[in-house]
């Protein structure tokens, strides 16, 4: 009995907390921005903080003008846990629905991690008519869905790189490597999730097969794989000069460590999430010299002198949160999405979702990632010139623990350097 009494007391306290912290009716109702995402993951955590940073900046300047009054922005976040393995999609959807129905947000930003969850969430978002500015999930399939039924799905936008543009960047990097060093044997390793698999397949189809490369191996790894020795041995045996990894799971750090420990004489060039941030140098014990990594958006844990806004963003993030940005995917577009939204609301001069969507479609903003514009699939256009479109950054780790942008050429800070034991063919 003692336990049940204790338990009742605990529950009562929990309930009390619940009521106290449920915000009451505010005098001037703020505009609510919902952030339903996987906050327990690095990218989700930093995206949320970037959104909060943007909201604070806007509020400091007096908020958003709607009609005659300026209204403050307010962030409501909810952990939908969709990135955690074993969490069913309906569970994530229920979270999004709860956020929409209870907090009544004007718009959602960031959104689900897994493309599977985004695809399933699109129907719910269409049902409730709440604009979503997604910044994590990357499968181009959602654009197809928008193009097929633009009236129904027009509420969904994407600011981050999608798999198609990632392919463009990867192909560009590979072409660059090929023209500089004459390498033409590649081993593709990717995580077995929709976006990574699609990216790998498309890179192979549209670039490697046409440009005369030899793909000596292509393998996809279930999320959670913790030993890459056999693949790395294959790389060595087949003489691949370049490894193209596409991973966003934390275990992919093992791949880097093993690549180093097994002294595989190949250039590692692709996307491995642990390599994106500045702390990777310490994490991997200074053993990542030569690794090349794509930071999906300019501003996400990387900044360039040529795009001043990206520098300001990275610095003000560090100042506000006391920690450096580490995620190479998400933070910059999350930050930008709040600004886009604020501008669209001011232009539309109302909170009506259809009006906001109409204004969002007209977006043309010079932001952290370069120039932001949407195409008809509501995807931000990425290209190589920051004055014409948004850009990503291909970064190489150099010997002093510094990161140099090596691609695209317009913002490059240096040339690709080959790791020890690998010589140019040309």
């Amino acid at each position: 009995m003692k336990f049940s009494k204790f338990f009742t007391v605990c529950m009562l306290h929990a309930l009390l907390f619940f009521f106290i912290f449920t915000p009451g009716v505010w005098a001037k109702k703020p505009i609510v921005i919902g952030v339903p995402t996987s906050i327990g993951f690095l990218e989700g955590k930093e995206c949320l903080k970037s959104v909060q940073l943007a909201v604070e900046e806007i509020n400091e300047k007096g908020g958003v003008k709607v009609g005659n009054e300026s209204r403050m922005l307010k962030v409501e976040s909810l952990d939908i846990r969709d990135a955690a393995p074993g969490v069913p999609v309906p569970e994530a959807l229920l979270g999004i629905e709860k956020l929409i129905l209870e907090k009544k947000p004007t718009a959602l930003v960031v959104g689900p991690f897994r493309s599977e969850a985004l695809m399933a969430a699109m129907d719910i978002i269409a049902k409730y008519k709440v604009p979503l500015l997604g910044t994590i999930a990357m499968s181009p399939a959602s654009e197809g869905k928008i193009k097929k039924n633009p009236e129904k799905y027009k509420y969904i936008f994407r600011l981050c790189l999608n798999a198609k543009y990632l392919v463009k960047y990867l192909a560009g990097t590979m072409g660059f490597i090929n023209s500089q060093f004459g390498f033409n044997k590649v081993y593709i390793m990717n995580q077995d999730v929709a976006w990574a698999r699609k990216t790998a397949e498309i890179v192979k189809k549209v670039y490697f097969d046409k440009a005369g490369w030899e793909v000596v191996g292509m393998e996809s790894y279930p999320t959670g794989t913790s030993d890459f020795s056999s693949a790395l041995m294959k790389v060595k045996a087949k003489g691949a000069q370049v490894i193209l990894p596409i991973f966003d799971m934390p275990q992919s750090g093992i791949l880097v460590k093993q690549w180093n420990a097994m002294k595989v004489p190949s250039l590692m060039a692709g996307f491995i999430s642990p390599l994106a941030g500045p702390s990777a140098w310490k994490t991997f014990n200074k053993k990542i010299e030569g690794a090349i990594n794509v930071n999906f958006e300019m501003g996400s844990a990387i900044s360039s002198d040529k795009i001043p806004l990206s520098k300001t963003f990275v610095e003000s993030y560090e100042k506000r949160w006391g920690k450096k940005l580490e995620a190479g995917h998400g933070p910059a577009p999350s930050y930008e999405s709040v600004y886009l939204l604020a501008e669209a609301i001011e232009r539309a001069n109302s909170l009506d979702p259809d009006a906001i969507v109409e204004e969002l479609e007209k977006t043309d903003r010079q932001g952290v990632m370069g120039r932001i514009k949407f195409d008809e699939g509501h995807q931000t256009v990425y290209d190589m010139d920051p004055d014409k479109a948004a850009v990503a950054a291909v970064v190489q780790w150099t010997d002093a623990g510094k990161r140099t942008i090596v691609f695209p050429p317009l913002i490059a800070e240096g040339k690709i350097k080959l790791p020890k034991g690998l010589a140019a063919v040309k």
């Binding site: 619940f18 952990d79 599977e116 399933a120």
Partner: protein, 334 residues
């Protein structure tokens, strides 16, 4: 002076329990209240709740079904750690039928219920002879394996799953369909477990060898129990597929295996009503805690621990005892 606690049936229980010619309203109320309160409650609730809590109610009913299915198996001596298998197979059958052949939900759901039951029973048939924790381990592993098979062979949409199922006509149909089925299962199977047939099933759990001694083929009975339980699970899965218009690998998630067990543990095993009660408490609790973000799962875990340790019999037997009996302190005879 030593005292001890004594429990005695209430008078009204003694009067109405054995004598079938009920003589007063009070007695009739006494007997019918525990049955009608949940029925009426479940029928009225959807009218009172908002859209979001209606969705929660839907989850309550779905998890109650899974918990009932788990409890039937457990009462037959088969402790399953893989309710997700039933749920997932049902979900995939209806998903495939609807996606590839355009079968409307009102045909695909019943088909998925029956064939889901048959397929799951066939899958588990080879391990029917296993007992105790060994049976549990097999059920834990099969759903994990199916996920990997789907991932590797890329059948049924692979990791992306199938989207764009036909939804049910309206949310009222969704809610009342699942609540109706849940109530039918609850009372129907409660009655079944009290019948002679149920006696055999429970006998298998208590002492399977003496049931064999009585000349009863326990494997045939176990197969039937398995079919019943897996059909219920498959129905839950099929329904959820049409509600969320999506089916994919997550339908085999561990949540669907752990949650029903937790519901039964909280509610009280062996009564089916306990399973339902457990789901009614746990699902809304888990929703209410959603505001705490990741901390919700932590609370949830602590809650489970406290429950298993403090009230191992579950809530339902406790409530039942309070309803039927009163307690008093009496002196211990010298």
């Amino acid at each position: 002076m030593k005292k001890r606690k004594e429990r005695i049936d209430r008078g009204i229980k003694a009067r109405s329990g054995d004598i079938f010619a009920l003589s007063s309203y009070r007695e009739m109320m006494y007997l019918s209240a525990p049955r009608f309160v949940p029925i009426i409650g479940f029928l009225i609730l959807p009218l009172l709740l908002g859209v979001y809590w209606q969705k929660v109610l839907l989850s309550v009913a779905v998890f109650a079904l899974l918990a009932i299915s788990w409890d039937i198996l457990a009462q037959t001596g088969m402790v399953s750690l893989g309710q997700a298998l039933f749920f997932g197979v049902g979900a995939y059958i209806t998903g495939a039928l609807n996606h590839y052949w355009g079968v409307p939900p009102f045909i695909s759901i019943p088909l998925a219920t029956i064939f889901g039951g048959i397929i799951c029973t066939l899958m588990l048939l080879p391990v029917l002879r296993l007992r105790g924790i060994y049976f549990s381990m097999v059920t834990l592993i099969i759903p994990l394996m199916l996920v990997r098979v789907i991932e590797a062979t890329k059948i049924f949409g692979g990791t992306e799953g199938l989207t764009g199922m036909t939804p049910l006509p309206s949310r009222w149909v969704e809610v009342y369909l699942v609540i109706g089925i849940m109530l039918v299962c609850l009372f129907g199977f409660r009655r079944m477990m009290d019948s002679d047939y149920g006696l055999v099933l429970r006998g298998i759990c208590d002492n399977d060898r003496s049931v064999i001694n009585a000349g009863i083929n326990i494997y045939w009975y176990k197969t039937q129990a398995l079919f019943i339980a897996s059909s219920i699970g498959a129905f839950a899965g099929a329904l959820m597929t049409h509600v969320y218009m999506f089916v994919g690998m997550p339908v085999f998630a561990l949540d669907y295996s752990i949650f029903p067990i937790a519901a039964v543990v909280v509610g009280g095993p062996g009564t089916l009503a306990g399973a339902t009660l457990g789901a009614c408490l746990l699902v809304p609790l888990s929703e209410a805690l959603r505001g705490f973000g990741g901390l919700r799962i932590v609370f949830y875990g602590i809650f489970l621990v406290v429950f298993t340790v403090a009230i191992p019999e579950g809530i339902f037997p406790y409530v039942q005892r309070k309803y039927n009996e009163f307690e008093r302190w009496v002196e211990v005879d010298k």
